[in-house]
């Protein structure tokens, strides 16, 4: 003991021990306090976060509703397509990658870019990444869209050897009729980044598609369906105790099935649209609308030039979509414009029946009123030209021969406001509310409109121009068709309809849309009959402007129109083609059959020239095809119905 030195003085330390013990215990108490906070007070919060870390919600895609025409033929459906992705972190660059490149036919520079990406991600450490890096590491990379079925089958049978390569089904919208009725049916587009802010709360995600135009856009919320989801535990596929792990960590419901979108049956008849397309072949641009005069249902709407909605929807890939729209937007014939609804044109002489009705309503004329046409009309200092010299004409001849002089005389007698008010009664100058595409209002000019517009005294000449459907008066093709339908049915203006009913995917009707009357115009039936007999005369009488274009056996009444265009050529048009854009618009508006009308038809041939010669034949042929079709359907209804009432 002595060897090991003196027992030293430990008294100096005595008073310190108590303090050290106190300090140590308080330090541990602080730790315990914090632990109690984390584990007991905030325990549920942290448990939830821990679960969130390991549980992933995989969404289950829904199927978009099918769009059918009035006869149940499919206008828009879904076609399966398969995209191939890879998880860069799992791809074997030596074994798997060269096989994938060969299978999918990946080429430079895409191949090198993807390879660089794999290398970059594989260089990242597996652990200790920030959430952003983690996300980047886990991100799937798209290799190829719409891959051939044979290749998909190969990929799936060799899935075990090709780790990190994944196939995902991605339904693509398919339109069997391509260009036909494109504007009304519409197409799909991908949700853009800027829309996403607005659409996210409605459940859209990046990469989703939604209806961009037409019925696809208007009825998006019905067609779309509701996405389902299934919960999975992260990386569970690599574990051998899947069941156990899932039962432990996944809260109910673990799986919610998607709800398929609603199917939509349209009032459109694709046969009629086909026949319009045929009848229109000789013309470059224009629009046709056919409505059922007894319901306001639109049987056909066609706008030319059209485009293939399959390509516009992305059926041929993203690049094709971009190319298509670049081409469409550059075309001076404006293929992407729905000319049945979205553009207003001067109606020309097809408006004359409404001028006549306005003058008759104000008792300014009667059928015996006689006007002497010398090839024009002198009003103030101006001479208003007629299409020819018609000599003495009454109301009937004036409509049949389309005598402008007679209507200038009416224009001199009737007030512009009366013209406008009758026009408004027949649905001009206001949107019809069809809703599938942006709608032009058209214009029924009034005295106050002119005053506002020209900031000078109103001139009577304006009324004269409006009386023959020129001047500031513009209408849409659809408005004109509905107005002629109202003439034909004795004065009922219907709400136009494109959708007949909404069904669930198994065919149960969810909602039907009965015809809706917009307004009972209540015109004097006698006046109406005078006008209608004149419209019949346009086709049947020798002097009629459409007489030459009549087809034997086609029973149609109507009015031709040749609308002068303001000489404004669209921008970017080849000077050699300016003559085309200065040509008049050709119109034919009418209904059939003439005595007991069922359909109203309006044909506009943009820059087609004379109405009778250019628009008339189109209408005649469409009505001829419609008559044939009607006969065929009547006779087939007598036969026993074929099995399976629902064509798919």
């Amino acid at each position: 003991m002595a060897l090991l030195g003196q027992r030293s003085d430990v008294g100096e330390f005595r008073r310190r021990y108590r303090w050290l013990v106190l300090a140590a215990i308080s330090a541990f108490l602080i730790l315990v306090g914090r632990l109690a906070q984390l584990q007991i007070v905030q325990g549920d919060l942290h448990r939830a976060q821990a679960r969130k870390n390991i549980v992933r919600e995989r969404s289950l895609a829904t199927t978009r509703g099918v769009i059918r025409d009035t006869e149940g033929r499919v206008l828009a459906a879904n076609r399966p397509s398969y995209n191939v992705h890879m998880a860069p972190a799992d791809v074997d660059l030596v074994e798997t990658w060269p096989r994938v490149v060969k299978l999918l036919g990946l080429e430079e520079p895409e191949k090198s870019l993807l390879e660089a990406k794999i290398k970059e991600i594989q260089a990242m450490p597996a652990k200790g990444l920030s959430p952003r890096e983690e996300k980047r590491r886990g991100q799937q990379v798209l290799l190829k869209v719409d891959v051939d079925r044979d290749i998909i089958a190969y990929l799936e049978t060799h899935a075990r050897e090709l780790r990190g390569v994944e196939v995902s089904p991605q339904p693509v919208r398919y339109y069997p009729y391509g260009e036909l009725g494109a504007h009304s049916i519409g197409y799909m587009r991908e949700v853009g980044a800027e829309d996403l802010v607005r659409l996210e709360e409605r459940g859209y995600r990046a990469g989703d598609r939604l209806g961009a135009v037409g019925v696809e856009r208007r009825w998006e919320s019905y067609l779309r369906g509701v996405r389902g989801f299934k919960k999975i535990v992260r990386g569970v596929s690599r574990r051998d105790d899947v069941q156990e792990v899932e039962a432990r960590y996944l809260e109910e419901p673990r799986r919610v099935e998607p709800i398929p979108g609603r199917d939509i049956s349209l009032t459109l008849d694709i046969d009629m649209i086909t026949s319009i397309d045929k009848a229109f072949r000789g013309q470059l641009a224009g629009a046709v609308v056919v409505v059922d005069v007894r319901t306001g249902r639109i049987l056909a709407a066609s706008s030319k030039p059209s485009f293939d909605v399959n390509v516009a929807s992305g059926g041929n890939g993203v690049q094709a979509v971009a190319d298509t729209f670049r081409r469409l937007n550059a075309d001076p014939l404006k293929p992407s414009l729905d000319k049945t609804i979205s553009a207003a044109y001067p109606p020309g002489s097809t408006y004359k029946p409404f001028t006549a009705l306005a003058a008759l309503a104000d008792r300014l004329i009667d059928p015996t009123t006689e006007v002497d046409c010398h090839g024009g009309y002198e009003y103030g200092k101006r001479f208003f030209r007629c299409t020819g010299v018609h000599r003495k004409v009454h109301l009937h001849e004036a409509i049949v021969q389309s005598c402008n002089t007679y209507f200038y005389e009416l224009g001199a007698r009737v007030s512009i406001d009366k013209l406008a008010s009758v026009g408004l009664d027949y649905g001009f100058g206001v949107k019809t509310g069809i809703g599938i595409n942006p709608e032009a209002r058209g214009r029924m000019p009034t005295r106050s409109w002119y005053t506002r517009r020209y900031k000078e005294a109103f001139r009577g000449g304006f009324t004269l121009l409006s009386a023959i459907g020129q001047g500031a008066t513009t209408v849409t093709v659809l408005q004109l068709a509905l107005a002629y339908a109202a003439l034909a049915n004795g004065g009922t203006l219907y709400q136009p309809q494109v959708v007949r009913s909404i069904e669930t995917s198994d065919g149960t009707v969810v909602q039907e849309f009965p015809p809706r009357v917009r307004r009972l115009i209540e015109p004097d039936q006698e006046h109406l009959n005078w006008v209608k007999s004149a419209l019949e005369g346009v086709v049947t009488e020798k002097e009629g402007t459409a007489y030459k274009e009549r087809i034997a056996g086609v029973d149609i009444a109507g009015k031709t129109g040749t609308a002068q265009v303001s000489h404004v050529t669209p921008r970017g048009v080849d000077p050699g083609k300016v003559w085309y854009f200065n040509r008049d618009h050709a119109w034919f508006s009418g209904y059939a059959p003439s005595r007991s009308p069922e359909i109203a038809i309006v044909v506009l041939v943009e820059h087609g020239g004379g109405g009778g010669k250019n628009a008339g034949p189109v209408a005649m042929r469409v009505v001829r095809d419609w008559q044939k079709m009607k006969e065929k359907r009547l006779s087939s209804k007598d036969e026993p119905a074929p099995s399976g009432s629902r064509p798919n």
Partner: protein
Amino acid sequence: MALGGRMMFRRGPAVDMPLLLGVVAIVTLGLVNLYSATSVYADTETRARLADIYVSQVYWMVVGGLLAIFVAAIDYRHYERFAGVLYAGGVVSCALVFVLGSNVRGSSRWIQLGSFTFQPSEFMKILLVLMVARHVHNDHKNEPRTLVDLAIPGLLILVPVGLVMAQPDLGTGLIMSLSSATVLLMTRIRKRTLVAIVGAAGTTSVLAWNHAMKQYQKDRITSFLDPEHDKTGIGWHALQSQTAIGNGQFLGEGFMQGTQNQFGFLPDQFSDFPFAVFAEDWGFVGCLLLLCLYCFVCVWAIHVASQAKDRFGAALATGVGALIFWHAVFNIGMAIGVLPVVGVTLPLFSYGGSSVVTTLVGLGLLMNVSMRR
């Protein structure tokens, strides 16, 4: 020497049973927990590596235990004489790191010795405690110590701390300073001197922040203060650790059931964050038990110190207790988000041969003092 040996046998095995049981309990929990931490669900390659980690930890426990028995067997007063030599050797090996050291993650801490590596800074902790204890032992003084009196121990501390900090290994440097300072605090120090030292330490840290610290070291501190807006990922680690601990709730997820650990959300789960693994598996109840064990060992060390028959023994026991205390408080504190993430091991829980052996040798010394009071 011969007399000392005979004396030990004469007195028989006066083993400090409470201390022994406490340490055995911690060792057991530590090994159980490391098993959980190394059995995360991963690919075969990773799993094999983790299994190796576990087995080698067991080996180191055995080696450390044997060393502890050896260290405890020789009367601690012999160490007082050799403290200077040991200390010098430690400082030299700390310096050698810069020459021979293998660089791991931006700092050179390890020396390759045959087939295994060791970390001189770990052993330096215990050697420094020995040296400071020796100084306190020989430095009799009745009046409170002044700055001049503290110059020599200050220098003794600063040399190895400086070397370790330069590696750079902030955590070890911090632990070394704090534990040797704790030993010095046992002596009477003038109040003015104390204030001056605290002031100097404060100034040094500010200067270090501005001029000497590496960006990643600063990031650790800033990410601690604002973990949500952390760019480095360190704050994210701290948050994941807290989530794991909170996820344990009252009774825990169960052994090897903690999802944060099993699904790989814990960074360095066997070296820096073993406590998070433990807390997630065993919950508040388990944590309370573990904290009580650590607290017991620390308090018991002070008890042993108070019973020691000389200044060296008292200072040594206090030093070993302080080492355990600061390690535990810093490691757990960082896991539960009350202290910034500095690389400090959890005694007998964290994986690492040097750390395990050092801790066990330290505890052997404590046992030594306890057996000879």
